[in-house]
């Protein structure tokens, strides 16, 4: 136990291995990985090889990229991190789903916030039809129910231009 705390001070950093659902392994410093609450708890329980059943290699690569950048966060590079975040959320909706699900599963709060806000911003001015299509949700209302729902929001549908695009 004593060796792990002293080694991080002397420069010999403790390494952890993350294994994606595709079987790829990534070796990372513990200090980076503990941004993720789920892994932090596993480390505390003594694991050093961490299998992530729900996260594929593509998503894990992105998440590691995020964690590495955010581990460098200091007072002076706020602007840089901001730009990084901006670029980071520029994927397709499908990529974002993978990422946000993984962030939720891994409990990386900062990443969750970033992604949820980005998705919220992207659907903000979309029409109902566009949202359904983007999220691939089928309309489960009967026509009667839909009319009732419509009635509850009468004023929202009068006039106004809504974004019908799917990106």
């Amino acid at each position: 136990m004593a060796s792990s705390s002293s080694s991080s001070k002397t420069g010999l950093k403790k390494m952890l291995t993350l294994k994606s659902s595709d079987g790829d392994e990534f070796e990372l410093e513990e200090s980076i990985v503990i941004q993720c609450q789920t892994i932090k708890h596993m480390v505390e329980d003594g694991f050093s090889l961490i299998p992530l059943q729900n996260v594929d290699t593509k998503t894990l690569t992105k998440i590691i990229e995020y964690m590495k950048k955010h581990a460098e966060k200091t007072e002076s590079n706020k602007e840089e991190i901001k730009n990084f975040n901006k670029e980071f959320v520029k994927g397709s909706f499908d990529d974002q789903f993978e990422l946000v699900s993984a962030a939720n599963y891994l409990h990386i709060n900062g990443l969750m916030d970033l992604l949820c806000q980005s998705i919220a911003d992207r659907i903000n001015n979309k029409s109902v039809r566009a949202v359904r299509e983007i999220f691939n949700i089928s309309n489960d209302y009967t026509p009667d129910e839909e009319e009732k729902v419509r009635d509850e929001h009468k004023w929202a549908h009068e006039g106004g231009e809504f974004d019908e695009s799917l990106d």
Binding site: F93, D94, F97, E98, V100, S101, N104, M112, C116, Q117, I119, A120, D121, I123, N124, N125, K126, S127, V128, R129, V131, R132, I134, F135, N136, I137, S138, N139, D140, Y141, T142, P143, D144, E146, E147, V149, R150, D151, E152, H153, K154, W155, A156, H157, E158, G159, G160, F162, E164
Partner: protein
């Protein structure tokens, strides 16, 4: 017919619906689609058709919709929140969980929030536009029309039709106006006038007297009544009185005109509308609760303007209301003061 072919046919039907909705603006198509005989929920036969987003965990959806709700606080941008509620049933539940009442957050969201009490501290600022040529009054919140009221004449009475189940009618002299709102128990006389004074009486459950007492609450409807008839029939005024007295034993909230101050320099009576009213008019008013001294309502609460109404231009007026009145009740009170009957000042 084999199961496979049924599934194929259903899928084609679903695609067909998709095509309909692609034509033109969403808003205009809603009604058409709603009346079509094709049930859109056929997709439930095929859960595998739903994509990964459809299986989004509710807590994640909650995070996303909460952010939409928090970032869009004004109209018409707030439409985004209602769109989230229209997507499907699970989205609707999540959205309803997030959206709070106007009393709690000071914002209007679903149509029902027009019938919920306004915020306790800062009033909601609306305005009313009058079209003289077709006798239509519109209540706006920002640029969004909230309620449209048509004025019609039924026999010798003026009737203000607000929506398919609510209307205001006056008696012959124009000394009493009654608001009928969807369900019989919530009838309320909203204005009684004598040549020298006006009394506004909100006998609606919503604005009972106790609601302004310390710690008091005004009941907040959370949904519209389910069984609203196509057209509400016109009950007579006497009927309404009986119903109101029978069903609403609670002391009703009575509001009165705020007393104006004498302005020495201008040599006239003035009310402070805090810049929201710019044109002098006999129609301008501010109302405060009329309370009995025995009820121990703090003086500060008694001075609080519950609703103010005033002219800012030709055919345009501001209406600011707050708890315990709802937008709907406030609008009704204002409409009753537009009327020009022999008994009106």
């Amino acid at each position: 017919m084999s199961f496979k072919s049924i599934v194929r046919e259903l899928r084609e039907m679903k695609d067909g619906i998709g095509n309909i909705s692609r034509r033109g603006e969403e808003g205009r198509n809603w009604r058409n689609r709603a009346q079509s005989h094709i049930a859109p929920d056929v997709a439930s036969f095929e859960p595998s058709e739903q994509g990964q987003w459809a299986n989004i965990p509710p807590e994640l959806l909650l995070h996303i919709i909460r952010r939409v709700e928090e970032s869009e606080t004004t109209w018409p941008a707030r439409t985004a929140v209602l769109f989230c509620a229209s997507v499907c049933k699970s989205w609707r539940e999540v959205t309803k969980e997030i959206v709070r009442t106007p009393e709690e957050c000071g914002r209007l969201t679903f149509s029902i929030s027009l019938k919920q009490p306004g915020p306790r501290e800062s009033p909601v600022h609306c305005f009313i536009k009058r079209s003289r040529d077709n006798s239509v009054y519109r209540l706006y919140f920002g640029l969004t029309p909230l309620i449209v009221c048509l004025v019609a004449s039924v026999k010798m009475y003026l009737v203000y039709l607000i929506d398919k189940s609510s209307f205001i009618s006056s008696n012959f002299l124009g000394t009493k106006f009654t608001l009928y709102d969807s369900q019989p128990p919530s009838d309320a006389s909203i204005q009684e006038r004598s040549p020298h004074s006006r009394r506004f009486r909100a006998k609606q459950e919503n604005a009972s007297f106790s609601s302004i007492q310390e710690g008091g609450t005004a009941p907040t409807p959370t949904s519209f009544p389910q069984s609203v008839g196509e057209k509400a029939s016109l009950p007579s005024v006497s009927d309404a009185k009986e119903t109101a007295n029978d069903v609403c034993p609670r002391e009703s909230l009575v509001v009165k005109n705020k007393a104006p101050r004498w302005h020495e320099q201008l040599q006239c009576w003035c009310l402070n509308f805090k810049g929201r009213v710019t044109v002098a008019s006999v129609k301008n008013f501010q109302l405060v609760a009329a309370v009995d001294p025995s009820h121990n309502i703090p003086a500060e609460e008694q001075e609080k303007v519950i609703i103010q109404f005033g002219k800012i231009g030709k055919d345009i007026f501001t209406m600011d209301y707050r708890y315990p009145l709802s937008a709907f009740q406030a609008f009704a009170i204002c409409l009753s003061s537009f009327d020009t009957k022999p008994a009106c000042e």
